[in-house]
């Protein structure tokens, strides 16, 4: 590089430094220390979630360039994208696989935080914002599933929104809010598109900002009775390790997209009968199975209503965990760990029932 060019580059960097203050940010990264101990591996799940969210954002924006949100054109536009647009199939497949991987990693991240009891004072709001982010990811999944306007998505949305309609008092309102009317129609598709690309991203950006700020403010939590052997600087040690994981995730996504491209299926026909074996996305399967297993009436109350109220109450309890877990000592830790494993076992076995037991769905 000639001296003149080096001078110009230095000048430009100096100009930017003066205005943005990169060195302060880098300095902050170098000073931020990440504890090293036998559970450090779980710290990478947050970064992995953030990476997959970034993949969703990037591929989602590319999909937007071709997608048309109407019942007449949605399916055809996705079909055009995956058959005619160069690498369109790759972008769509990565978007779909990454969405599923993101939800999976978010569940892992949440349970790792739960079992390490990293939600305790002063990180209560970090937990709450994290759970809200998981719920937002589920909402992204639910709204995005309908967008290709294929048969499976259409009927899964019909079933899913019916569950929302069974909520006491506000059910009718919720149903109409989600569907944009009494039935799943092209209006529902346009509405879900609005949720998926505008409403949910706006809320997620705010909650994610809060979550990252709180993580930055309180640092990584070291579990009780675990001795941190040392600490590593966030920059570059932790970030470089994060990058290794992100590269592995990218390779995994590329493999899935090439060998198992996300199916498009057949265009939805609202007048056709529902195909057999309609299942929701895997992350909703346990709720779906629970509602199915409940008897028609429980103590005189409609079974579905009992299920919805039970799941809602469980969700609120889960959100309030940091405020309920105030105990100290081994007994309290054991009790919360048992509750956590019970939740994991229930979710895993109900999900397995949907996929492994023939005729259960």
């Amino acid at each position: 590089m000639s001296t003149a060019l080096q001078d110009k580059t230095r000048g430009a960097m100096g100009w930017l430094e003066e205005r943005v203050g990169f060195s302060q940010i880098l300095e902050m990264g170098r000073h931020k220390m990440v504890p090293v101990h036998r559970h450090t591996v779980w710290y990478y799940l947050g970064g992995m979630s953030l990476f997959l969210f970034g993949v969703q954002l990037a591929t989602g924006i590319l999909l937007l360039l071709y997608y048309r949100p109407s019942s007449e054109e949605a399916f055809e536009s996705v079909q055009f994208l995956v058959t005619k647009v160069p690498f369109g199939w790759l972008i769509r497949s990565i978007h779909s696989w990454s969405a599923n991987l993101l939800v999976f990693v978010l569940f892992l991240h949440m349970f790792s935080v739960f079992f390490l009891r990293a939600y305790r004072r002063p990180r209560e709001l970090t937990w709450v914002s994290g759970v809200v982010l998981l719920l937002l990811a589920l909402a992204f999944g639910f709204s995005g599933y309908l967008l290709p306007w294929n048969t499976l998505a259409f009927f899964a949305t019909q079933v899913g929104t019916e569950v929302a309609g069974a909520v006491p008092v506000a059910g009718g309102f919720l149903l109409r809010l989600l569907r944009g009317g009494e039935q799943v129609t092209g209006g529902t598709l346009t509405r879900f598109y609005g949720f998926h690309v505008a409403v949910l991203p706006a809320i997620t950006t705010a909650v994610l900002g809060l979550h990252l700020y709180l993580v930055q403010r309180h640092g990584m939590s070291v579990p009780e009775r675990v001795q941190a052997r040392a600490a590593m600087p966030f920059l570059p040690s932790f970030l470089l390790r994060d990058l290794v994981g992100w590269c592995a995730a990218l390779g995994c996504l590329a493999f899935l997209a090439a060998f198992f491209p996300w199916e498009l299926g057949e265009k939805a026909d609202p007048f056709a009968p529902a195909p057999a074996g309609i299942k929701p996305e895997w992350y909703f399967a346990w709720m779906f199975q629970l509602l199915k297993l409940l008897p028609a009436h429980v103590l005189g109350v409609e079974g579905e209503l009992v299920g919805i109220l039970g799941i809602s109450a469980g969700g609120v309890l889960w959100l309030m965990v940091p405020f309920l877990d105030r105990g100290e000592g081994r007994r309290s830790a054991l009790l919360w760990a048992l509750m956590g494993w019970a939740a994991v076992a229930a979710i895993a076995s109900l999900t397995a029932m949907v996929y492994l037991i023939p005729g259960s769905s």
């Binding site: 790759l90 990218l250 090439a258 060998f259 498009l264």
Partner: protein, 432 residues
Amino acid sequence: MTSFPRKAAVLALTCWAAAAAGTAGLAAEPPSLRKGPLPMETSCVVCHRELDGAALEPVTRAADDVHFQKGLACHDCHGGDPEAGMDGDPSAAHDEARGWKGKPSRLQVPELCGRCHADPAFMKRFDPQERTDQLAEYRTSGHGRRNAAGDAQAAVCVDCHGVHGVRPVTDPRSGVHPSRVAQTCARCHSDASLMAPYGLPTRQHEQYQASVHARALYEGGDTSAPTCNDCHGSHGAVPPGVSSVANVCGSCHTREATLFREIEARKGMDLEACIQCLICHSNHEVKPPTPEMLGVGEGSTCTGCHAEGDAGWAGAATMAEGLGRLRRRLAEASEQLDAAEHAGMEVGPDRFALQTASDQLVEARVLVHSFDIERFSKAAAEGIAAADEGVAAAGRAFRELRSRRNGLALSLVVIAAVMVSLILTIRRIERR
């Protein structure tokens, strides 16, 4: 005072006596829709409800009867005065002086029904679209001509539509609903003793049940599929003449019939001799057309008339070969697109394009009826070209799949290299 059971017995006897006489004159005018007791509240119903057997049967079936539902009552067909019967003497209702006609004879039935059903002004009061030509058509039918000649065995209205409990044609329980017409006709036409005096065959129903038409009707539930009356007519039922077979079949198979007629015009051929459609497809036992029917091999219908060496023989062989090639190529394209789809490729638009080949297969099969090799070959060639395009599309999908996997391998190498360099960088930094 006469007790009710006695009154009922008198009434029943009076009815049967009148019925046995069977010659009571019929009113020339259709019944008017008058005010008075509802059809199910007349003295006829009140008394007959207390009787047994055949005397009770009209009452038990009246609720299902379309005439009762529209407001007509017993005396609209049988005459008499139901109001007189209400006064305590049931036999007064059967007084001939009050218009009692009793049970009409079989010879009288068509005219009795025709009093209303052949009266447009009357029928319009119930349905402005209702046909009123049934009686006129009946008179042209084999049944009607024999009835007019005094043959009481010949079918009359009630034999198909029923009596007391007449349901509309649209009611699946009606004997004239499309799904039941064949059984209704078979009640007489499959009865050898009944048909013997007329010298008519009795295997039509058995043959029809083995036909492609019956399969569409009974297995496919397609009530538009032809049954007896669609070819023979209903009220004007007659066997189609030899010269009109193509017209009868052509009322549904329009293109085949048009092509068939064109042969006569183009080649000046008289196809009446070969009984048109029937020679290949049969009449009642119309079988689904199979590939073997065309050509010169086993099961061919062409070889029934054409001999080796004549132009028809060569034409049949050419057409069979063309259809076979198109069918095989279409199956191959469909199979390969399926395989590409199972491998995860999106082939929806290519599958849609393959529809052209399927359409051309249908077209070529229809064009067989033109006996025009040039027209047939053109349609078959277009179909084969479309199927070739389907095979090519499947090939492109597989090439794309291979290139995706090669690209994946390359990208994984790049990603692995980045990961290794990152790990080395971490080690280098941490060693410092």
